[in-house]
């Protein structure tokens, strides 16, 4: 979510959902995967709602896809939640929702491909394709920040 208040709300709502739906939890399943699924669905719902409300109030599409300044990608200064939020927002703000979810779960949360499949309900091939595109875009962003020359460009 990259926003402390939004994230707090999502965490609270996730625990409430776990409490309400605990009888639906299949004990053969990994609890963390089930919990991630709840959190991911809540985040997606919230992000879609935010996007709808922003598109209602923003005057142009440009406002929606306004990228963060490149220097905000400096991981050396990463020391607080806010720094982390800024870096992740800079890296993922221009990614489509599917790529953002897959990249976050796989590369930032370090979950296995199988777990990402279970959480998102996407197929393995689709996850790999989304990962490839997300990593490519993120690599390009990092190349600017860290002065890494892109081979394909």
């Amino acid at each position: 979510m990259c926003d402390q208040t939004e994230a707090d709300d999502i965490v609270q709502e996730s625990f409430i959902r776990v409490w309400k739906n605990i009888q639906r939890f299949d004990e053969k399943q990994k609890f963390s995967t089930w919990f991630y699924k709840i959190v991911t669905n809540l985040c997606l719902d919230r992000l879609r709602a935010l996007k709808r409300s922003r598109s209602l109030f923003s005057s142009t599409e440009k406002d929606l896809d306004n990228p963060m300044p490149a220097d905000s990608l400096n991981v050396e200064r990463l020391s607080s939640n806010k720094d982390l939020a800024d870096i992740i927002r800079s890296l993922t703000s221009n990614l489509p929702l599917k790529q953002k979810v897959v990249f976050t779960l796989r590369d930032l949360q370090d979950l296995s491909v199988e777990e990402v499949c279970e959480i998102t309900g996407m197929g393995k091939a689709s996850i790999k394709a989304n990962l490839h595109h997300a990593r490519k875009r993120i690599r390009d962003l990092l190349a600017v920040q860290y002065n890494i020359r892109s081979v394909s460009s």
């Binding site: 965490v11 982390l84 930032l108 990962l131 990593r135 860290y146 394909s152």
Partner: protein
């Protein structure tokens, strides 16, 4: 395979993302392609940055406040009757040991009552059998019973019981049910079985003893015996 295809495979560098075959093909290609090797170096550099991001653990500012906030929201949520079905509410009652023990006691009492009434019913039917069997000729040479009873007449006519009776063992003659003495036991038994279903409800209420005695008297009064040659 083109370099573009291998670059896609290069992107999928983390464990479990490539099949063994794809990994082998990629290694072979990297030996011969300088451009793809360069791409791999950039991917490794980018991964180092991502690793730094991944290794940072966000800190929850005030865990106690968060916990109390969650609990305060869970309480009203669990008491929200509209969010739950009535069946779930009813089942929740069984979480109380008193309710579980009470229900078990009720079920046990119902089973015992049923068994008691059921056994009593069989005992009563047996009494009927004995009553009918004791009606025999003083000389003991008479082997056929003739009983004037509408209930037994209905039974004799019942098709469902025919397979259980010896062919020709029961006849209806001049308004009387005529039964060979040797078949009388199975005939009355079939009466017993046919009656089980219809009598089970009455049994639950316990068969009226006065009615039973009346039927025994009825059997005794309307039964006569005569030699087998009359059959």
């Amino acid at each position: 395979m083109t370099c573009d295809r291998y670059r896609k495979l290069l992107s999928l560098y983390r464990t479990g993302e490539l099949s063994n075959r794809e990994a082998e093909e990629l290694v072979l290609h990297l030996h011969s392609c300088e451009r793809c090797r360069k791409e791999r170096e950039q991917i490794v550099d980018a991964e180092i940055v991502i690793q730094k991001i991944r290794s940072f653990n966000p800190v929850l500012a005030d865990p106690a406040r968060m916990a109390s906030s969650i609990v305060s929201k869970i309480r009203p949520a669990t008491t929200d009757v509209h969010a739950r079905g009535y069946l779930e509410d009813l089942l929740d009652l069984f979480a109380l040991p008193q309710v579980r023990i009470g229900t078990a006691a009720l079920i046990l009492a119902a089973i015992c009552t049923f068994l008691f009434q059921y056994l009593t019913f069989f005992n009563e039917v047996h009494t009927l059998e004995v009553a009918a069997r004791t009606v025999s000729s003083p000389t003991g040479s008479h082997d056929v019973y003739a009983i004037r009873s509408s209930r037994l007449e209905d039974l004799a006519r019942s098709r469902t019981l025919q397979p259980y009776l010896r062919p020709g063992s029961v006849k209806i003659k001049d308004g009387e049910v005529v039964v060979n003495k040797s078949d009388f036991g199975s005939f009355v038994s079939s009466y017993r079985f046919q009656s089980v279903a219809s009598t089970i409800v009455a049994t639950m209420l316990h068969m009226d003893e006065r009615m039973l005695n009346q039927f025994v008297d009825h059997i005794a009064a309307n039964t006569r015996s005569f030699p087998a040659s009359h059959f």
